[in-house]
């Protein structure tokens, strides 16, 4: 199994495949209990969403996606997430680089700052952004109820993901490979492009897939910040909620199913990438 820790800058461990025997009686019982809880909590409820959506056949999906508001929300959510994920891939790598390769006073503080979006309640994140970029902010800008707010909120909550997947890989990078490259005449940039970056690419994509999945699921930070204006600043999760509150659980489930599919793809990407990284390392 491959997992990477995503917070607090902790390094990924080297994996040793140590599998002892099959299941003893005790562990079989434990597995049964764990699976029961996991099913009741996660598997069954998530399947209920898919079942609800599929219950009305293709009609539900067709109706839901014919709805202009829903389509607008989807377009906004996906486009914003894609843009921010791209930004994160660059910024995240840069931040990880500075954390690992650079040494200056106060670097520890940066570590804490990077984890704030991960640990902060999302509603508080909205308030936090509002206090600088809202009407009473010292900057004099007011992004509340605009699309910029959506960009800002998603940038905030997805910040740690690429950083924390790239950081451990950078830490474990062997120096002698770079030194060999330099001795063969490669400039710093070439060494970065052809030696370092390829090693980082799997980690960047793992973080990016998590970042994207997180971006399209975001809700709490946008509640106060974006105003949820239909057709303008309304995101997918808000649509799901309005469908549900409006007594239309089937449509809510339809949109939710799309989001689930994306989430699953993100997890699969993460798993595949990390498995490949661990096999190489």
């Amino acid at each position: 199994m491959a997992t990477a820790t995503v917070v607090a800058g902790r390094p990924v461990r080297r994996r040793r495949a140590v599998r002892t025997g099959g299941l003893t009686r005790g562990s079989a019982l434990g597995l049964g209990v764990a699976l029961t809880w996991f099913s009741l909590l996660v598997l069954i409820p998530l399947s209920a969403v898919v079942v609800k959506a599929a219950g009305g056949g293709w009609q539900t999906f067709a109706d839901t996606f014919a709805n202009d508001q829903t389509m607008a929300a989807l377009r906004l959510t996906v486009s914003t997430s894609v843009v921010i994920t791209a930004v994160n891939m660059v910024m995240g790598t840069a931040i990880a680089w500075v954390l690992v390769r650079d040494h200056f006073w106060g670097k520890r503080v940066l570590d804490v700052i990077i984890d704030i979006p991960f640990a902060l309640p999302t509603i508080v994140a909205g308030l936090v952004l509002l206090s600088l970029y809202g009407a009473d902010g010292p900057l004099g800008v007011d992004v509340a109820n605009t699309r910029k707010a959506v960009l800002l909120a998603i940038a905030f909550v997805t910040l740690p993901f690429v950083v924390r997947t790239v950081q451990p890989v950078l830490e474990e990078l062997e120096h002698d490979v770079e030194e060999a490259s330099a001795s063969l005449g490669a400039s710093r940039l070439t060494t970065f492009r052809r030696v370092i970056l390829p090693t980082l690419v799997p980690a960047i994509f793992a973080g990016a897939s998590l970042s994207f999945a997180r971006g399209i699921s975001e809700y709490g930070s946008l509640v106060l910040l974006s105003g949820n204006l239909p057709g303008k600043t309304e995101v997918t999760s808000v649509r799901v909620l309005s469908y549900l509150e409006g007594g239309n659980p089937a449509s809510a489930a339809a949109v939710a199913t799309i989001m689930l599919v994306v989430a699953l793809l993100a997890i699969v990407t993460l798993d595949v990438v990390q498995r490949r990284v661990s096999r190489r390392g």
Binding site: G22, I113, L260
Partner: protein
């Protein structure tokens, strides 16, 4: 090691620090500023509001219960995933990461579809036997458990894999049974990973918003959690209180991160 050219290094520093400052550090500090604009008055007003205190107390209860459940589940599942072989092990390990990527609103929807007392799959059956899940404590605990589920597992599994089972095998050869091996050998080895996992779960549990909003129904003074109180107070133009409660939650979250960050060097013995 080959050094980065100075110009590039400074450029990176400026860009990175600038980005982090503008996006996270400054806005967060402003919340602290706003909270203490009038000294401790803001906090005092907030804490004397019964809605707020009830919400904070409820949040604490729900979070602690959820963390305990996730701790037991997390350590147990980690042991199973790393030390045993069974059909579907890889699938389970991938599925456990699912809550990281699922939207909180979808989580709420999913739980409601199953446990709602009127139209849920199991809801009516449970209500007949006196157990109300949605709009009540069990629902809030479940929603919180869901979102924080992977956190303990993701911390403990790599450590279990790294320390290997040599020590456990040695203990078994020396005559220890499974319980003794677990308490005396395994648990001390994963001690710090468990602590990290618990602290991270706690931070995540305290901060959950979307999922509990859907599941709990947000009834003020009854099923309203602290995060939901922030939204309500802000939208009711009681902004000072909103900032104060936000500060409390943010401080708790930052405290969690700082603890984890401080504990880390101790573990790399």
């Amino acid at each position: 090691m080959v050094e980065t050219p100075t110009a590039v290094r400074w450029l990176l520093r400026v860009v990175v620090v600038g980005y982090l400052f503008m996006l996270i550090a400054w806005p967060t500090s402003l919340v602290v500023q706003r909270t203490f604009e009038h000294g401790l008055e803001g906090l005092r007003v907030a804490l004397s509001d019964p809605d707020v205190t009830h919400a904070l107390w409820l949040t604490a209860q729900v979070s602690v219960i959820a963390v305990i459940i996730n701790l037991v589940f997390g350590v147990g599942v980690s042991l199973l995933l790393v030390r045993s072989r069974f059909v579907g092990r890889r699938l389970l390990s991938a599925l456990i990461d699912l809550p990281l990527a699922v939207s909180p609103v979808v989580v709420g929807l999913a739980l409601v579809l199953v446990y709602n007392g009127r139209f849920g799959w199991f809801g009516p059956f449970l209500e007949q036997h006196g157990i109300q899940v949605v709009f009540a404590m069990p629902g809030m605990v479940m929603a919180t458990c869901f979102v924080a589920l992977p956190l303990v597992v993701r911390e403990v599994v790599p450590v279990l894999e790294e320390i290997g089972d040599d020590q456990e095998q040695a203990a078994r050869c020396l005559g220890a049974n499974s319980m003794q091996t677990f308490w005396r050998i395994t648990l001390p080895g994963i001690k710090w990973a468990v602590v990290y996992g618990v602290v991270l779960s706690l931070a995540r549990s305290l901060g959950e918003f979307g999922a509990v909003k859907v599941v709990a129904g947000n009834v003020t003074g009854e099923t309203q959690l602290a995060t939901l109180v922030v939204q309500q107070k802000y939208q009711n133009f009681e902004q000072e209180t909103a900032y104060s409660v936000s500060f409390i939650l943010a401080a708790a979250a930052v405290l969690c991160i700082v603890i984890v960050s401080l504990l880390r060097p101790k573990e790399n013995r």
